[in-house]
Symmetry: C3
Subunit: 223 residues, 3 copies
């Protein structure tokens, strides 16, 4: 389960050491961690990391198959987590030490910056392969954060980007050695901890108003 630690001005949220899929309890734990980060005052920044082979493998499809009646509410809760992360009033950095797939990749895009392991692991939006179209909210988020050419290839072809390819395509901001992923993310975050405050929250909220409108649409979240 997700755990929250603090190193100076930087909160480090570890998403877990498994596939770190978006189980409702996992979402609740992430939200509780974000509550803690938000309510803290003063300079601070957030690094979201994980341990093991996966950063996150996305939606919890097993849980979803067992709870078909909660499909819509579940997607609404995932959308809400993405929207919340996208507008946190502080600088956020995702430290991608392992596979970052589907909603896990979207969660990484909701952060201000991404640091990825260079030599192993993929960043991928596999929706075209697994026959789950992006919701309008997810589509809007991805397209708001990536260049048009990159968003198109990632979304239409389900390309698996290694670290160097992800850096070249502008999917991530840094590609570094495995043992430097988290430290680099913490360095980036620490250098920007002084930006924390409502101004940065307002700036992000205005920048992504169309994506946020789609992500918080509870009338037709599935499109």
């Amino acid at each position: 389960m997700p755990t929250l630690d603090r190193q100076g001005d930087v909160f480090v949220l570890d998403l877990g050491d498994g596939e770190n899929r978006f189980h409702p309890d996992w979402i609740a734990a992430v939200n509780a961690a974000l509550d803690e980060v938000e309510k803290t005052e003063g300079p601070r920044a957030l690094v979201t990391a994980a341990t093991g082979k996966f950063f996150s493998n996305g939606l919890d499809l097993d849980w979803l198959a067992a709870h078909p009646d909660q499909h819509v509410d579940y997607v609404v809760s995932v959308h809400a987590l993405l929207a919340r992360t996208l507008t946190l009033p502080l600088v956020t950095v995702a430290a991608l030490q392992g596979h970052t797939f589907a909603a896990g990749a979207m969660l990484s895009l909701a952060h201000d910056f991404r640091v990825m392991r260079a030599d192993r692991g993929f960043w991928c939006l596999p929706e075209a392969d697994i026959n789950i179209p992006f919701t309008p909210g997810m589509s809007a988020l991805i397209q708001a954060r990536l260049a048009p050419q990159t968003a198109h290839e990632a979304m239409v072809t389900a390309r698996r980007y290694g670290g160097h390819d992800a850096l070249a395509a502008g999917v991530v901001d840094h590609a570094v050695a495995a043992d430097a992923v988290r430290a680099t993310a913490v360095d980036v975050a620490a250098a920007l901890a002084a930006k924390a405050g409502s101004t940065v929250g307002t700036i992000k909220t205005r920048m992504y108003a169309p994506a946020l409108a789609a992500l918080t649409d509870t009338e037709a979240p599935l499109g």
Copy 2:
């Protein structure tokens, strides 16, 4: 006139060996070819190519001058072709062996990928020079597919991009030798034939919802 051929999982639509302008009969032939591709089942992809000096030189201005009363209907039919191409439920690759101008360039942007001849031929949106402003639908399509800096220069200055420049600007995805253009496009398409299906169609339709709304606006298609 346009002809449709099939090589394994890849349909190859040849737009012709002239200027390949958008005459109503030419548009009808392209649509008939797309009907054939769409109704086929199973893995498949589309390469749109041409023969000779031109991929396409765009709107048929001679026909348009002779049929001024059909101006609006004509633009609506061009918009419809662009919208249809943009949302085909399979991977599409434009093989640009020759000059690709105006609506021909827009048609290339409605494909998932573009392969261009490196050493000769230009990709160009000459509208600023010929005093035909982009319709709102055309403008939305171009801007949805190109980076802001590239869209601006292409649309405001009518810059002629050779193959290497087009690759550097992200207008095309590959710039190759003349005799490799079509083969490269077929290779790219064949490798992605398994993506064909309604999911990819839905993904593209959601990604380009604003451009599609403008392209299918029959109330004021000219702005």
Copy 3:
């Protein structure tokens, strides 16, 4: 105060040799110069330049602090200048010989192209640091002109881009030696003077319709 000069087909607007902040009288002088450029007929282009250490340091915060009751009208007038510049019916080039900050940076983005001094001076959106969120109109303008990754870093972190960094990020189109900034801008503008006309004005107006709607919103210009 701003002055207008003409070199062949190129008008050169010099914003001044101070901080060139957006005082109401300064805005009026810039608008008067743009009136002169607009009403001239025939081939023409505009270079907006300045003299000394600053291109422009942005809003006149001293004047604003002394006239709190005119805050909204003032922002409306700045928005109007940005919208007008963005849609001038001729090619515009900003020659950034010195610091280009905040609304000064936005004014540079409202031009078609930017030439920046390579070795000294910064282009920067400091709003996150000075606790002045971008208005919705300003946010829309910046995001319409920069790649998503660049707009995000510039707006959220207030990064100071030197000339080489600004070129690499696509913030500017050329980074040149100090004594070549204005001449390069004039060369770029002169080569495109023949584009002047209503078509280019219409093209830009349609391209940036959403940003223009936000910049000309007089109901809630501050968001």
